[in-house]
Assembly symmetry: C2
Homo-oligomer: 216 residues x 2
């Protein structure tokens, strides 16, 4: 049996299964699904080609397994930020948005995995190698619900639908530079990640504040 619990051992010497997941994380994020071959993966993990099929059943199964592991981390981190900001002495829309977008945008500027995974998430939704519903189920139930509730607390006058749309829109404001950072930097003079973060915070907060007044 290919029981995953068998692979959780000391930590010093990781098993083939875990080494493959690590390799998948690095290579898929860097070169995408089609750009990464099973031979790339197995040489990176120092194991035989057959190991992928033995442990996971195939290339796509390894892919979605790695994906689930990463999404879980991203969601937990985001939830922690919401809790921290909302339980601070003076929570504000600005602080909430800043807490949300800073880590990913900084990460993508430094080519750290945290940012690359988010890029890959978008790429994945567009390329449809994996059923997205299975992967994003938690995102909807947990994150959108929690964040839109926070928006309703801070920006008075938002109803449920408006606040959910606002969450999507702030996500848009973050994802856009996350995907197109190089264009921001080369097309807009004197534009670095700090400038972008400040802009997103101001732009998003202004939108939420002014949203109510602009009915119809």
């Amino acid at each position: 049996m290919t029981d995953s619990s068998l692979s959780e051992r000391s930590g010093l010497e990781r098993g083939v299964r875990d080494r493959l997941l690590d390799a998948a994380e690095r290579l898929f994020c860097a070169k995408g699904f089609h750009g990464t071959s099973v031979r790339d993966l197995t040489t990176e993990a120092n194991c035989n080609v057959a190991a992928i099929n033995y442990h996971f059943g195939g290339k796509v199964e390894l892919y979605s397994e790695m994906f689930r592991r990463q999404i879980k981390l991203v969601i937990e981190e985001s939830m922690a930020v919401i809790d921290r900001v909302m339980s601070s002495p003076h929570p504000s829309i600005e602080a909430l948005i800043r807490g949300w977008v800073t880590a990913p945008l900084k990460a993508v500027e430094l080519n750290e995995p945290r940012g690359l995974v988010l890029q890959l998430m978008v790429r994945e939704v567009l390329n449809r190698q994996v059923d997205p519903e299975r992967i994003f189920a938690d995102l909807k139930e947990v994150f959108v619900a929690r964040m839109s509730a926070a928006f309703r607390e801070l920006g008075e006058g938002l109803d449920v639908q408006n606040s959910q749309l606002a969450v999507f829109s702030v996500d848009a404001l973050m994802l856009h530079p996350l995907l197109f950072m190089p264009y921001y930097r080369s097309w807009i003079e004197g534009c670095d990640s700090d400038k972008i973060i400040d802009h997103v915070v101001r732009f998003g907060a202004a939108a939420i504040r002014g949203y109510r007044g602009n009915q119809a």
Copy 2:
């Protein structure tokens, strides 16, 4: 010689070259670059496998050729919208944003090529099959410059950098539902494309209006 001018003929009976470009438009948008094989393309265009290499030199060249043709259309259409709104009796930020985002979002809801190409553009930037600089050169020079100037005219108090960032952000507000429309519809109750368009207009306009006051 593979002269492209030869292929511009009556229009009733299109040549192989044009049929291939049409097939490329349909198939690449639907299934992506890797998901579409040269055999898919040539059977869709009713021609021999070798035709792609003969007329374009290879699969990627056909891909970027189709891409250029589409981008040109998108840019021309967007510029026309700017001109129309800005020369109307009472131009407003709302009208400008609405003119910009309505066509693409409506198109993607109806699965029309206009919207699918925009999705493909994003996918392309992320997958890097083609040098993006070559494709997006016009976008920068023409569109961003023109739209940010319009923003400066309408939303007083914006400097050059702010207005450029605002253009990127409104682009973000449009691209996000364009990419994730299914999630909007299923996660947010009672959400259709009209609701989304209204939201983007209100959200974006409120952001630009309130932007100035929120300095630092």
